[in-house]
Symmetry: D2
């Protein structure tokens, strides 16, 4: 038609081939959303499990995602260097991923918050970044996991000082100002008898989704029970900064097992 | 930290200032989604109202949207030429809008489909396009409304031929192949006694959301009832191709009323 | 061949259709270049004429340029909103234009500096900017012409203070610090008897290249002398901030004369 | 000033960090330029040396270029993965490089073509491509050197058939149509007694510029002659497809020697 010329104004950025693509999404205004829905502080385990559930939906629907990492109100999805989905068009990748995640988050809300009705629809932003080397992509994940660690240690101290220590939020903040990691360890132990190392791994490390072969039992056409391997998305709460994780999962970086 | 250098890899495209920004979203694989959820054919009024509900949520949360237009599984949102939201960053605008829309679609599903449980979370893609002039932005909307008209007329004929005319889908397709608009008008009238002009406006024209001043009744601090003006999002199913609509809404193009 | 996959890494930005495209080029390190080649201060008329000569070569080779504006070591070329050259690919437009300009600058150097051998090849950078409306494109040109005016007035004062007033460069700078336009007019007149308005237009206004119809005399095949119209690039040193220039050249903005 | 808002319309693409940046330039319309200036066919050694001279100027002025490769009317410049020049802004890199090259080409023309005046200024286009891995960057160079080889072998046959074989250009083309590399070797040898392997390396392999340490003799302040190392740009005509070259120049890929 005489109007189709308007399509010429569409600009599409295909992301550089042979680079790792990382889509990071983050809850919009979750400071307010978590308070309105009375999330427990500093970590609401129901909320984390809901985030993981939504991330699993995304990962199952986009097969080129090789790893996902979540903490707080954010999730990062790592696409294979070879990913070809949507011709690597930036807006397709980000909007579809954010949309799937959001839909699943609302869809499964009731399973994880049966006693807390969702009061209004939440939203997530999304962005995609290309990383040219394995090392830099791994450093990206280190950045997020270190962020998780630092925030969680701070928040653990903060809310203990407020809830058990009787400090005002302002005083708790002052008390923690300038403290190093070992000061916080010490504070937790000496003042609250808490050994930070014993905190739940999901709080300290965040959540790591990878694909793994698992054996499944099937019945073949002759009625015999047989075992097959199936790829399923598995959740872990392990360290991804060191080399051990990557040695155990050589397939993520595309090396032969 | 030593990892923050990874942020340097983020690239952000700020969209050209002083241009109309149009975000169009479109349901992913809605051919399957609508069939799975047994949408009525060719138009499911519940589905259209749900789309409009979700679009209203978006428009109420992003105040620089001056008009939205929806049809089928898609919606277009027109941001003012002067829009400054998120510094006009493309990925922020598209992902947040798509996320809000999707969340609202799932959130309100039950209101519009009380008897049809949502079987799996749907998803929408999104893109943003900059249009440099009023005329071209209007031509964009003409393109979408003409698309609505052409598809609706075709689908109306097609499903009458199949459901009432007893044709197979293949034969219905053949029958319509090569027909012009007036042939379809004629077919509808002579074979099924249907005057296309009497079809529902929402099917023929799609849905137009604009902001309008409406009077609201308030009680002031002295207990007197007073009237105030409030901006609310209104839904219409009117022609936006001709000049009349734009004359009636001079504020959209930024002209004084 | 097995290597051609490397072409997939090329990314090309086609500039938004229906926008004015302005390519601005600027001499690299001309502070040094002009001093090395002993340009007269503050303005070297030979240098300005050489810049204009090179700009003319560019404009004659790229027919979609509707106007060019030059001052100091820079030149701006305005492409029609409808320009289609090189599919509006940013890198083609900028590199070819910069290359043509540079080649012409070196090629014609001897004509304008017969007594000053070029000591080393100069270079120009280039960038392209899309402007969505006539008003904004005109404001771009205003920005450059205002820059010319301000710099020229400052430099005229500065070098008179130094060369005729016997001030050191540092003292001349101090003397001018904080002065307004009218202070400078006053200074020129009272201290050096110079009426700024009588300075050369090319210094005060820069150079404007436009295409104009000029009558040319030809001899037709029967040997009769006939007159024809021909489009040629003309140089002016006029104001392009006010409306007069644009009224006299309605064809630039695409209006009928 | 009130006009400076126009700078907000500038968009700048910083190229992805930690990737190889390759700027390729190519003569515009050199089919015509070479014919107008009567370049010898198929290869004009003066023209190749002039290209190399201009490339050397570029490489000496942009220190992050680690290698350059030229053939025919084109040159590719490889910037280190770590290059920071101009903040990796695409338009600065391409336009300045193209401008320097063009200026040098015109500037040095007379040295290489003393008997052939330059009739009009030539131009080169330029583009920049980011390559994420060493392998892909090397494949890029393989692509160009293979192109050189294929074209040169074809052109060598073609012009011998025309100039010595007495064929028309059309017949020479037909004769070569569908021939493989070894057919061409055979043709050269059996029909013209030419052993292709003995052709000049600069024709067969193109030109490779790298930086190398060379000893230079200096006189120190006490009048003693001393030897120092200096980095200079060296020209070679060697194979860069195989591994040998890269083993001999480990510093190019950033490995310790
Ligand atoms: N109580 C509670 N709050 C949480 C939990 N997870 C995340 N949050 C809150 C803490 C932060 O206020 C917020 C996440 O920080 P952000 O930097 O993403 O800020 P926010 O989402 O408010 O703003 P944004 O729109 O992302 O800029 O969510 C949780 O498990 N429990
Ligand atoms: N039955 C029914 N189907 C509808 C209605 N609205 C939209 N659809 C269907 C018709 C089309 O198959 C589909 C929309 O066409 P699209 O071109 O967007 O295709 P689809 O979403 O399948 O693929 P895509 O992922 O967008 O490329 O949705 C409705 O009201 N009733
Ligand atoms: N003497 C003299 N100098 C001039 C003339 N035209 C321009 N220049 C000098 C004055 C400035 O130092 C320089 C232009 O200023 P720019 O801001 O472009 O600086 P420059 O080219 O040095 O650095 P850049 O590489 O552009 O950042 O050229 C002239 O006619 N005579
Ligand atoms: N006689 C002669 N011609 C040469 C020599 N080197 C390059 N050429 C010519 C052969 C080709 O016609 C032309 C290079 O091919 P291109 O594909 O770059 O074509 P051209 O520059 O004409 O068009 P373009 O503007 O790059 O699309 O230059 C030479 O040493 N001797
Ligand atoms: O922490 P991020 O990644 O969300 O970064 P930010 O500082 O919040 O900035 P933005 O979301 O605006 O990119
Ligand atoms: O109809 P659209 O706009 O979705 O366009 P398309 O032809 O489906 O293409 P794509 O969604 O891949 O841009
Ligand atoms: O004056 P310009 O346009 O050259 O702008 P600048 O401040 O010199 O900056 P750059 O040349 O780095 O864009
Ligand atoms: O051979 P190239 O790289 O110049 O590629 P092309 O096919 O000539 O195309 P263009 O110069 O238009 O990118
Ligand atoms: Mg953020
Ligand atoms: Mg958040
Ligand atoms: Mg967050
Ligand atoms: Mg589509
Ligand atoms: Mg769809
Ligand atoms: Mg659709
Ligand atoms: Mg500059
Ligand atoms: Mg300069
Ligand atoms: Mg300048
Ligand atoms: Mg080319
Ligand atoms: Mg060429
Ligand atoms: Mg070439």
């Amino acid at each position: 038609s005489k109007y189709t010329y308007v399509r010429d104004f569409e600009r599409e950025e295909r992301l550089l081939p042979s680079t790792w693509l990382v889509v990071r999404i983050d809850g919009q205004g979750f400071t307010g959303f978590t308070s309105k829905h009375e999330f427990t502080k500093p970590n609401d385990i129901r909320a984390l499990h809901l985030m993981n559930r939504a991330a699993k939906v995304v990962m199952e629907s986009m097969v080129e995602i090789v790893l996902a990492y979540g903490e707080s109100d954010e999730y990062s999805f790592v696409f294979s260097k070879k990913a070809k989905a949507y011709d690597r068009r930036a807006s397709k990748l980000t909007t579809l991923l954010v949309s799937k995640f959001t839909a699943a988050y609302v869809f499964y809300w009731r399973e994880f918050f049966p006693a807390t009705p969702l009061q209004f629809p939440p939203a997530f932003d999304g962005r995609v970044v290309a990383y040219p080397s394995d090392r830099i992509m791994r450093d990206y994940l280190c950045w997020r996991q270190a962020d998780c660690h630092i925030n969680n240690m701070y928040n653990t101290c903060f809310w203990l000082l407020v809830n058990q220590g009787g400090l005002s939020q302002r005083d708790a903040e002052k008390r923690l100002n300038g403290t190093l990691s070992r000061d916080k360890h010490e504070l937790l132990f000496s003042e609250f008898g808490v050994n930070y190392n014993n905190e739940q791994e999901i709080f300290k490390k965040g959540s790591v989704l990878v694909r793994e072969q698992v054996p499944i039992d099937l019945v073949d056409k002759d009625g015999n029970s047989v075992q097959r391997q199936k790829m399923v998305v598995q959740i872990q709460h392990c360290d991804i900064i060191g080399d051990a994780f990557w040695r155990e999962h050589p397939e993520i970086l595309g090396e032969k097992a």
